[in-house]
């Protein structure tokens, strides 16, 4: 049971500022994912929370207590490393019991706790093996087991699935979500994979160049991205962007002219927009629909058939756009097609890339992954 708070946390290496003043609140039992491209500072931020890196300035608070000067072992947290970082010369059991051994926990009790963690992770038959005799997925589970045994307030995960193959990654993703449910612990998870972020998080923190671009629930980020970066980063395939011109704005939204000539009205707050401004229109590939009366037109360049769905890459006059259709489309490469979108699905971004506020909140933005389970069962933390 633990909360975490970051207050204007800054990290500088020599003269480079890699974390530029991060403010963040993590509630008890929340699953928070830091996501962003390589080098955005997400791992550094995690390591600062872990105590493996010191903060250049700002405060890190765990359960309301400032821990900037507290060692990693005394912060009541456990970390799962990307490389697993198992101790190669120790058996699985010794790996998992190492922290207890250092804490001078009696052998009997140690064994009990290790066995309990091994049961949760189905590692019982492997307790006597050395890490080199384990598969990637098993090593991963031992690394998680080592964290569970410590019974920490906060679990930290540093890209734990990136060394696994695709199938195993999906399996472990489900397992981690299940584990979060079972352990009822606060978890902070770092990844560059937006699918992992979307599927597991209660709250996503999108980082770029050491700056927090947006914090919100997966659906909030998907439906109401605060800027172009978040809009492009969340969602797969990536959001399409078109350069458009503002024509008029009123209480129902902003009317824009598309590059090919057609017009549409997007329901966003356009109070600051003057006719003639250049804006960016964003439409997700899954919101583009083939439509003989659509406002857009182009030639299909590439077709990617996935069975259940099909991605069409369509070259319009100015842009290469992606459209996701169902698996049954019969179109062929080099065919010309017309397509469009429902305007309430579109996003508009100003010149600096900031999104114009949508006039309607999407109903799913407030949904919680675990349906607020945390508040309903008070103290059932795993022990």
């Amino acid at each position: 049971m633990a909360t975490l708070e970051l207050k204007n946390v800054i990290k500088e290496f020599d003269d480079t500022r890699v974390i530029q003043g991060v403010d963040l609140e993590v509630n008890d039992r929340e699953f928070v994912v830091f996501v962003g491209p390589s080098g955005c500072g997400k791992s550094t931020l995690l390591r600062m929370i872990a105590g493996l890196e010191s903060a250049s300035s700002g405060d890190i608070l765990i359960d309301g207590k400032r821990v900037n000067d507290v060692g990693p072992a005394d912060r009541d947290l456990a970390m799962v490393f990307q490389s697993y970082a198992l101790y190669p010369h120790m058996t699985v059991e010794d790996n998992m019991g190492f922290s207890l051994r250092l804490a001078k926990v009696p052998k009997e009790e140690r064994r009990k706790k290790v066995e309990e963690a091994a049961r949760i992770l189905q590692l019982e038959p492997l307790l006597d093996r050395k890490p080199k005799a384990l598969s990637g997925g098993q090593r991963q589970r031992v690394a998680i087991g080592r964290a569970i045994v410590r019974n920490p307030g906060i679990f930290l995960f540093d890209e734990p699935l990136s060394n696994l193959d695709a199938a195993l990654r999906v399996k472990m993703r489900v397992e981690l979500a299940r584990l979060h449910d079972e352990l009822d612990a606060t978890m902070i998870y770092v990844t560059h994979d937006q699918i992992e972020a979307m599927t597991m998080a209660d709250k996503i923190v999108v980082l770029q160049d050491g700056i927090v671009e947006q914090i919100g629930s997966p659906m909030e980020l998907y439906h109401h991205p605060r800027n172009r970066f978040v809009a492009g980063f969340i969602g797969s395939p990536k959001m399409n962007f078109l350069s458009v011109e503002a024509v008029a704005s009123d209480a129902s939204g902003v009317r824009v002219r598309l590059p090919a000539g057609g017009e549409c009205s997007v329901p966003v707050d356009g109070a600051t927009q003057q006719p003639g401004h250049t804006l960016t229109l964003g439409v997700r590939p899954e919101h583009l629909v083939l439509d003989d009366n659509g406002v857009l037109e182009g030639e299909i360049q590439v077709i990617e058939r996935l069975g259940g769905m099909t991605s069409l890459h369509i070259q319009t006059q100015d842009d290469l756009l992606t459209l996701v259709a169902d698996g049954e489309v019969t179109h062929r490469v080099h065919e010309r097609v017309r397509f469009g979108f429902e305007s309430h699905r579109a996003h508009l971004f100003g010149q600096e890339g900031t999104a114009l506020t949508s006039l309607h909140r999407h109903p799913l933005t407030e949904i919680q992954r675990l349906d607020n389970k945390a508040s309903s069962n008070g103290e059932s933390r795993h022990s």
């Binding site: 493996l52 990693p72 072992a73 456990a78 490393f81 250092l102 410590r150």
Partner: protein, 272 residues
């Protein structure tokens, strides 16, 4: 054996030739040790009647076990001492580097570029004033200093190759620095530490300059024992060879027994 060797047999032949050329002086020394003094200075020949005459005479003139004991204790003690100092230093430099770490390492290595004779006077005088001349302690200290740069440098490279994550995981698990070193770092870098130790033993065993200058009889190791056979009365090839053979035999056997460990250690980190 390997595909390369079967495809290009001349590589194997060349390797053997080079190995034989390098080994030849040692072979010749061993053979000469079994000759009489007259045979030894006669025209070189592989055919002669072997005799243990020289060995008997060498043993009569000097106390081999005493010198061998000195060699063993001094090389082992100086190696242990060097490792004891080098492990913490290498740990600090590998895992907590500062801006000057690289320069410090280079400076340490540069001390090996100075010819030892350059510091002969100060070290001799210091040893004399501290009463360490012709003592095993004195020579052990000098050997420790002599090998320290190489030992630190080698351990530094081994430590540097260890995944940092493992030590960080240890720290997260609550290990203090001492536990981090003893429970994780040392067991993990055992091959590297072993090969560094072996190299240090061999270097100490073969060292002649300091042993000749700082010892007389009491603490003289085997190198000084060999040198005692090149006397002003002239060279006695057979006796010198017999003495040399006895001096190098232990380290040669030791090296042969540990070669697997040595090679593993020296290529440690190169192949993951």
């Amino acid at each position: 054996m390997s595909a390369v060797q079967t495809k290009r047999p001349w590589v194997g032949v060349l390797a053997w030739v080079i190995a034989l050329i390098i080994f030849f002086p040692i072979l010749w020394m061993v053979l000469t040790g079994f000759k009489t003094e007259a045979d030894a200075i006669a025209s070189p020949s592989l055919f002669f009647t072997p005799t243990l005459e020289s060995y008997v005479e060498v043993q009569g003139r000097a106390d081999y076990p005493k010198h061998a004991f000195n060699s063993i204790t001094i090389s082992l003690a100086s190696t242990l001492l060097a490792l004891l100092i080098a492990i913490p230093s290498a740990y600090a430099m590998a895992f907590l580097p500062t801006k000057r770490t690289k320069a410090t390492l280079l400076w340490m290595l540069s001390t090996k570029m100075l010819p030892p004779v350059g510091v002969l006077m100060p070290i001799y005088l210091l040893s004399r004033d501290l009463g360490l001349l012709d003592t095993r302690t004195g020579l052990t200290i000098v050997y420790t200093m002599m090998n320290l740069p190489i030992v630190v440098w080698m351990l530094y490279t081994f430590f540097k190759d260890l995944p940092r994550d493992i030590l960080e995981a240890g720290r997260m698990d609550g290990a203090n620095t001492f536990q981090e070193v003893t429970l994780l770092l040392l067991p993990l870098s055992m091959p590297g530490i072993a090969s560094t130790g072996l190299l240090s033993i061999i270097l100490s065993w073969n060292e002649a300059f300091w042993s000749l200058n700082l010892t007389a009889s009491k603490a003289a190791p085997l190198t000084a024992y060999i040198a005692s056979f090149s006397s002003p009365e002239g060279l006695f090839w057979a006796k010198l060879s017999a003495a040399s053979t006895m001096a190098i035999a232990p380290i040669l056997i030791f090296g042969w027994m540990t070669q697997k460990q040595m090679v593993r250690g020296l290529t440690f980190g190169a192949v993951k």
